[in-house]
Symmetry: C2
Subunit: 411 residues, 2 copies
């Protein structure tokens, strides 16, 4: 059995945390100077582990094994949310390097091929899943030209500033991989509440996200009688309430629906809003359920538009993400490894958040492993996981990866 090096794992992870450290959190925006510095440092760690590492034209760092035979691809992302935690993404990248390194160090597994990846922009600062989509063969030319971050900076300029404009993309090499494994913090409180330490992911939920725009007529809130108003704010509140108060009727037990953003224009107490905008997001693990939730939103929007007095438009605000099932063989390998290292202390569970694994799952078998998030917190400076859980997660994944690689070689 392969044994990981817990000290090296934690040391590498803590050193990576220093790139963009801000209080207990990390600010390491995609393709920023500090993100590039972290990627270059990680490329050195990949080289230490025997991998051939290169950053490509969209920022993905891929460390390729020099071993023959089918490889296991393991990865996540080392860039962060605008105000992110230290583990979201980073932990998975460091696991990948540690597993490549420790497998190479053990005689039984030294011939196994493990590639390690840090995908670019999973979080969508410019364009969600930029790195893994590019790797899977999507042309990113249009996105590179058009995509901008919240500050209005173009992705093309960020790539140029990072010195990557002339780097060719990493592309999936047909036949190279047994599959993809992505370790990640849970980002919810399910494991902690259950007193469990490992989650074996069954599905990654699909998502629909809509921007709903309401157009009324801006006017003075004192001098405009109620009967003459076309109040975009009032219409947004009415429609938002109609959606959120009826969604349970079409939702399933694992569905979630969220209005994360609502704003009125011009947004002053004495002015009737002329425009209002909100986002309605829905998620579910079943494609049919997701369709039904979308249809419900669209139906209520159409009803509001018919009823007036404001105009109502609905625009899908991101590409729809289809639910992705994790490979059942990989689930079983992860479950067996978890049961071995922490008997009874693991569960199968869906992922409510999106991950690069859902992109990779379209092209190869994919699996995901979760470790507990303290207090269920993520996307926040307070995000954390105990050292014991970090080490255990890496050990479970190493065991599972080794067992899959061994099985492929007929051992």
């Amino acid at each position: 059995m392969v044994e990981i090096n817990a000290d090296r794992l934690l040391t590498t992870l803590r050193r990576l945390r220093e790139f963009g450290a801000t209080g207990t959190g990390v600010v390491r925006p995609t393709l920023s100077a500090v993100d590039m510095a972290a990627r270059r440092w990680l490329a050195q760690r990949m080289a230490d582990a025997g991998l051939d590492a290169r950053i490509d034209g969209v920022g993905t760092l891929l460390g390729r094994s020099r071993r023959a035979g089918k490889a296991m691809l393991i990865g996540s992302h080392s860039d962060t949310q605008p105000r992110g935690g230290w583990l979201d993404g980073a932990m998975g990248v460091v696991y990948a390097i540690e597993i490549a390194h420790s497998l190479a160090e053990h005689a039984d597994t030294a011939a196994f091929a493990v590639d390690a990846a840090s995908w670019s922009d999973e979080e969508g600062s410019y364009f969600g899943f930029l790195g893994s989509r590019s790797f899977c063969g999507e042309s990113m030319e249009h996105a590179i030209e058009q995509a901008r971050n919240d500050k209005g900076e173009r992705l093309a300029e960020a790539i140029a500033a990072a010195g990557l404009s002339h780097e060719p993309p990493h592309r999936l090499e047909p036949g190279r991989y047994l599959g993809y494994l992505e370790p990640h913090i849970e980002q919810g409180g399910v494991l902690e509440a259950a007193g469990q330490r490992i989650g074996v992911v069954t599905h990654i939920v699909g998502m629909r996200d809509f921007t709903i725009e309401i157009t009324g007529r801006q006017n003075h809130a004192g001098t405009t009688p109620m009967r003459l108003r076309r109040d975009a704010g009032a219409a947004a509140i009415r429609l938002g309430n109609a959606i959120q108060s009826t969604m349970a009727g079409v939702a399933g037990p694992q569905s979630v629906w969220t209005i994360g953003r609502m704003s009125f224009d011009p947004g002053a107490p004495s002015i009737i809003p002329g425009r209002a905008t909100f986002n309605q997001q829905v998620r579910d693990v079943e494609a049919g359920r997701l369709e039904a939730m979308e249809a419900h939103v669209r139906g209520l929007v159409a009803e509001a538009a018919r009823a007036g007095p404001c105009g109502v438009a609905i625009v899908p605000s991101k590409d729809a993400v289809e639910p992705a099932a994790m490979d059942s063989g990989f689930q079983d390998a992860l479950a067996a490894a978890a049961e071995r290292h922490v008997p009874g202390g693991w569960r199968r569970m869906p992922s409510g958040a999106g991950h690069d694994a859902q992109v990779l799952a379209r092209r190869m078998p994919a699996g995901m492993l979760f470790v507990p998030s303290i207090g269920g917190v993520s996307h926040d400076f307070a995000e954390d996981t105990s050292d014991e859980d970090i080490v255990l997660g890496c050990q479970v994944l190493a065991t599972a990866a080794a067992s899959i690689l061994a099985a492929a070689r007929g051992r």
Copy 2:
């Protein structure tokens, strides 16, 4: 009968428009360099009209008549909204100067005393009704120390930068005034829709404005099950909808209620809002009705706080403004003048917007006259009124002022 000088009126008004002109609008923030330049220029026009003009320590420009006998005070404000129209406030100040000037030029009215005022900060860039409240005897020391504009600049610093720190305040001189008249654009579409040209104001509505703050728990919109959420955005939408869908039950025929601002924190599609804030404003001409509307809002807030799962707090966000009745004698004088110059083409109506007249009305008889707003638009660069209506309004007010002044002298 006094006759105003229409050319002089329009020339003065157009020249004033040049101070801070921005497209068809005007940007002349309270106590800014351009506001002070406009006030100094208006002080010259007051001097031309025979008035003794001075800018006081909060920015109010008052031109005092040198005539003996009780005076009519006429005024409005020459500073603007952040992106204001050219007539809101400015027109009333120029009317006041023109009426003082034309009364002085006519033998019948040359002995009549008219004071002209441009109050400071009616719109509340720093502190609403700053000038008229100071004039009516309120101590502004605390406001001067504490008040800040949207950019965080302190009122005390703006006063110092304007060179006014050592100017004593203008104060209402007991026994000096017959009353106060304020001419203004309507800021609504009632006159235009009715094809009428003059509004005689009966009341200025009272207002209550509340900031409602909702505290939940920020979390990931994908990984947090519905049953575990404390979604501040969802709670804000539910409460806002409850208020706006039931207010008609306690409101009167002239009540208005508005949610002009709603925002979620952090306000991203994939994050359950941890905090949400909105403003609920209510206005009515009857004090009792206003109380009932406030009680209704507070009742629904308390119910939402009890029901949970989010915390709900309500904070009055501005001083409550009580409804102010206009003097019935002044209303009759304005009505008689309107009927003389435009028979059948005027109406009595409330003012839905706040004006300095509601402050002055606590200390002396007050009246207001409206001219039509094209398209009902105000607080916008597109704000406008036809030249004919501008001239007519000034003529009607001059006739009414002269008749009140004449009656006071027993003529």
